[in-house]
């Protein structure tokens, strides 16, 4: 019920460059406006989104920045002039004739929390475009329902919505090199350098969302659970899409769980097929080979098959020395990492132009998207956890609640309320922190060892013990009841006999 009142407020500044102000503005600049939208998750739960728009003209500095030659330069120049707080957006409306945006595209989304929009078509057209843009840069109805997927009735969700990782305080990322044939292949990968160069910048950016730890291992004699099919035409081995679900299980037994922490693990496996099964290609549903030769498993991780080129001369001595091309591998793994966090850039209109996030792998507004989704999810998790705790307490009347458990529950409720309030005010960062605190407290209360329901003696067993008492006592009562019944029946029969 708590999430029924959740309101997400997004502060949006709409800045009009000179010559881009539409003619049909209701009021003179600057003015404020609010746009509300209701996202309904199920019959009882819905999330209210509230875009708090501030319309204004450009300042002199912004005007100067917008004079840049390309959109990228303008984005970089505008960055220091913006409101830097998480979740807030700035949209610059440039004249229809501006050369900042390339031909054919009317919206440019930058690396940070701003976008450029080409004016034209009056206020109504601008509003539609702004609505689209703000949803892309913050949250959409589908991204909100995806994180609340536990509450959505089955069948109403697409297959992709369950791909995202659950919100957690931390994640462990494990890169594993699987070498099933160490006799033929001596595989070396410079994972340490690759992690430092490609993965660490992304994780530094994501460190606001959760704690990350990265490690890697090499597993020998680890085989996939499926024997690939030999294809005579291409003289290669093929793994079809429908056999992929069976690939992971035997490997997983070797991966080794994270014994030292409770965070979810993201596995990225690089599989070098054995010599007798090389080269190995993954086929998609239509039978075409997958270009990356990789696939991912929702909420689990990804697998990439790395084929070793056959030696030029068949007499080459074994084991064959293989140095893995880490750039190729990391490209795939980073794309899979983005997919697992639900940061895919797919459903966009063609006139939208997105700036590539560069080395950090993640734009600021994408981070915001993640934070919006995780905050909503955390609040939902807290409400679920506390509801089930309440149900447990209702079921067992004499359960003992210790003071520390009680204070955790109070703190969870207070933090969750705080998070909801901060969300309604548009303070994304403090809302996220509060929701994290609420999750921690509620889980600590829920998993307290003193709240195990098996510790309490169930009532039905008490009855079993007292059966030696109840049974002999019941016999005379039942006999006399039978006697009464018999007598009343006889009394009913007797008058008819008299007749």
């Amino acid at each position: 019920a708590a999430s029924a009142q959740v309101q997400l407020a997004v502060p949006v500044a709409v800045v009009f460059a000179p010559g881009s102000v539409p003619g049909d503005l209701p009021r003179p600049l600057p003015f404020r406006d609010v746009e509300e939208m209701e996202i309904s998750v199920n019959v009882r739960t819905s999330v209210m989104s509230r875009y708090e728009m501030v319309y204004r003209g450009t300042t002199a500095q912004e005007e100067a920045a917008l004079d840049a030659a390309t959109a990228r330069e303008a984005d970089a120049a505008l960055h220091p002039l913006q409101d830097a707080s998480l979740g807030s957006l700035t949209v610059y409306v440039v004249p229809e004739t501006s050369s900042l945006l390339p031909q054919g595209s009317s919206v440019y989304v930058g690396k940070h929390r701003s976008a450029l929009v080409r004016a034209g078509g009056g206020l109504a057209a601008l509003r539609t475009r702004l609505r689209q843009l703000t949803q892309v840069m913050s949250f959409t109805a589908s991204s909100v329902t995806a994180v609340l997927s536990d509450r959505v009735p089955d069948g109403q969700l697409g297959p992709d919505t369950r791909r995202h990782l659950k919100s957690s305080l931390g994640y462990e990322i494990t890169f594993s090199l699987l070498n099933p044939d160490p006799k033929s292949h001596a595989v070396h990968w410079d994972i340490e350098d690759a992690v430092n160069r490609y993965v660490q910048p992304v994780l530094d950016k994501l460190s606001l969302v959760a704690n990350f730890s990265v490690d890697s291992q090499i597993l020998y004699y680890a085989v996939l659970g499926v024997t690939p099919r030999f294809d005579k035409e291409s003289s290669s081995f093929l793994l079809s899409a429908h056999s992929l679900p069976h690939v992971i299980n035997p490997v997983e037994a070797r991966l080794g769980s994270s014994a030292a922490s409770l965070y979810p693990v993201l596995n990225f496996l690089l599989y070098v097929p054995e010599r007798s099964h090389s080269p190995l290609y993954i086929q998609d549903k239509d039978g075409a080979p997958v270009s990356t030769n990789a696939f991912h498993s929702p909420r689990w991780g990804g697998i990439m098959v790395y084929n070793v080129e056959a030696p030029a001369s068949p007499q080459a001595s074994l084991p064959l020395h293989v140095d893995v091309d880490m750039v190729r591998v990391m490209e795939v793994f980073l794309a899979q990492l983005r997919l697992l966090f639900g940061l895919s850039r797919e459903e966009l209109p063609p006139e939208f132009l997105l700036e590539s996030p560069g080395n950090e792998g993640l734009a600021d507004w994408e981070l915001d998207r993640l934070l919006w989704a995780h905050t909503v999810e955390n609040i939902a998790t807290v409400s679920t956890t506390l509801t089930s705790l309440a149900q447990l307490l209702d079921k067992i009347g004499n359960i003992v609640i210790k003071d520390d458990v009680a204070s955790e529950v109070y703190q969870a409720v207070a933090s969750a309320q705080n998070a909801v309030a901060e969300l309604a005010m548009g303070h994304l960062h403090s809302a996220f922190q509060a929701s994290k605190k609420a999750v921690t407290s509620s889980e600590r209360a829920f998993f307290d060892p003193s709240l195990l329901h098996l510790l309490y003696f169930p009532d039905d067993q008490k009855f079993a013990i007292y059966i030696p008492l109840f049974l002999p006592m019941a016999v005379p009562i039942l006999l006399s009841l039978a006697k009464i019944v018999r007598e009343t029946r006889q009394r009913k029969k007797e008058p008819t006999k008299m007749d």
Binding site: A186, Y220, G256, P468, S480
Partner: protein, 575 residues
Amino acid sequence: GGMLAAAALLVLLAAGPGRADTGRDALREELLLSPLPAGDVAATFQFRTRWDADLQRGAVSHYRLFPKALGRLVAALGVRELHLALTQGFWRTRTWGQPPLQAPAGAELWVWFQPTVTDVDKAWKELSNILSGIFCASLNFIDSTNTVTPTASFKPLGLANGTDHHLLRYAVLPREVVCTENLTPWKKLLPCGSKAGLAVLLKAERLFHSSYHSQAVHIRPVCRDASCLAVSWELRQTLTVVFDTFSSGQGKKDWSLFKMFSRTLTDACPLASESKVYVDISPKNKEKELLEVTPAPTSVLEAVVQGDKRTYAVYDLLSPSLFNTSRSLNVQLKWKRPQDSSELPTPILHAHRYVSGYGLQTGEISTLVYNTHPYRAFPVVLLETVPWYLRLYVHTLTIITKGKENKPSYIHYQPAQDRRRPHLLEMLIQLPANSVTKITIQFERALLKWTEYPPDPNHGFYVSSSVLSALVPSIIAMKDVDVEQSPLFTSLFPSSDGSSYFVRLYTEPLLVNLPTPDFSMPYNVICLTCTVVAVCYGSFYNLLTRTFHVEEPSRGGLAKRLANVIRKFRGVPPL
């Protein structure tokens, strides 16, 4: 010039294809087969992974041969040294001789923590919980009631600059049963798994069909080189099995790898830098050439092991000549004279323990420690851990050697606290040459609460083995050997000097009966009381619900009824 080039080539080979910046790691695997008297064969596997990296907190996270699960554990919990053994059965030192590695029955765990660990008890609890998950063992039952901190018995085996024993924790679970489920995760930690190398012999159904099975994991820091400026980490996985080949081989003492493991060796683990099989062919009773091994060994090694000169036939699985003639290696041993009864000389140090006394109130634990050395006396550290429910009377502690009282030169006693911690008794006792020392202590059995009894309480309660640690004087002088070059089975315990060698022995675990209540009694009482109440209730109920009305004496007494019967026969109407 040629020499130099060869040396350069060697260096290149040693550096291998690995890179310089990540720590080098190396794997050595080894199997020692030693025939025991009475026809048993002991097989000791050792797998040693050495990693030239410092496993400190969070510094290293990229693993190759070293298993990630254990590496993370060491780094996260500040472990300096970890020794875990899971054992089924008991090593009979008296008849089997000194084992290369002995472990007490059940599970044994001892850990040294880093000085940076602030809350050792918390780290210990967390560690035992994680290990119980990794090895599928009930190590989570390790708590304060069975954990002790010995002061003298367990010194770090690896590199250590401080030996503050507050960083040490030791616990034994003698009730733990070891089975396949513990072997599988242990095998999974090996770089080659059980797919290649010596580990293919580890077939669970054969390993547990044996008189003794002990698997262990030892993690410790070691010196990286002779100068010892840097630290390497060593993981040793050991597994010892004793097969009773005499009874399973139709009265013959001959054995082969296939007969014992129902597998043979086909290759070395491709990741191992050394893969060897040693067979103990030491001549006994000065009679030479009593046994014969086939195929011919790669080489023969003579070494002084545990104060005795031994001869080993060595099979180097990495030497190409070994698999030239046949595709698999099936080491066989035949005795030339079948009825040979080779008596092993009694080991210099062995011990024996039992519990005596009658009734369920008091009892006595007696330990007999034997020193069979003809002319040398040596000290031994005895460690006793007794659960709190056996209340030791320390004033009854007596140590008697050759009829005289033997005063221990060091004694450390920590009394138990009910439901909190066990008794810990550590003593340094001097054993005179050729003597038996008897140590007795009396105890009283405590009454437990009814929830504290384990399932099947009439089976009894185990008291874990007592531990004897000693530097036993060697008969033959030993040479200082390089750890990296010598066989693995000689190099776990550091040797102090040439004249003595370190031995750690475990006595039998004890099984003590405690006064056990009749657990069905409460239910019986409830049943009985309820029945009585129910019977009373029944008659009372009848009394209350029956309607009483006066009936005319229509039938009369017995005489009248009899008269009526007679009248009926006569055809006269009744009265």
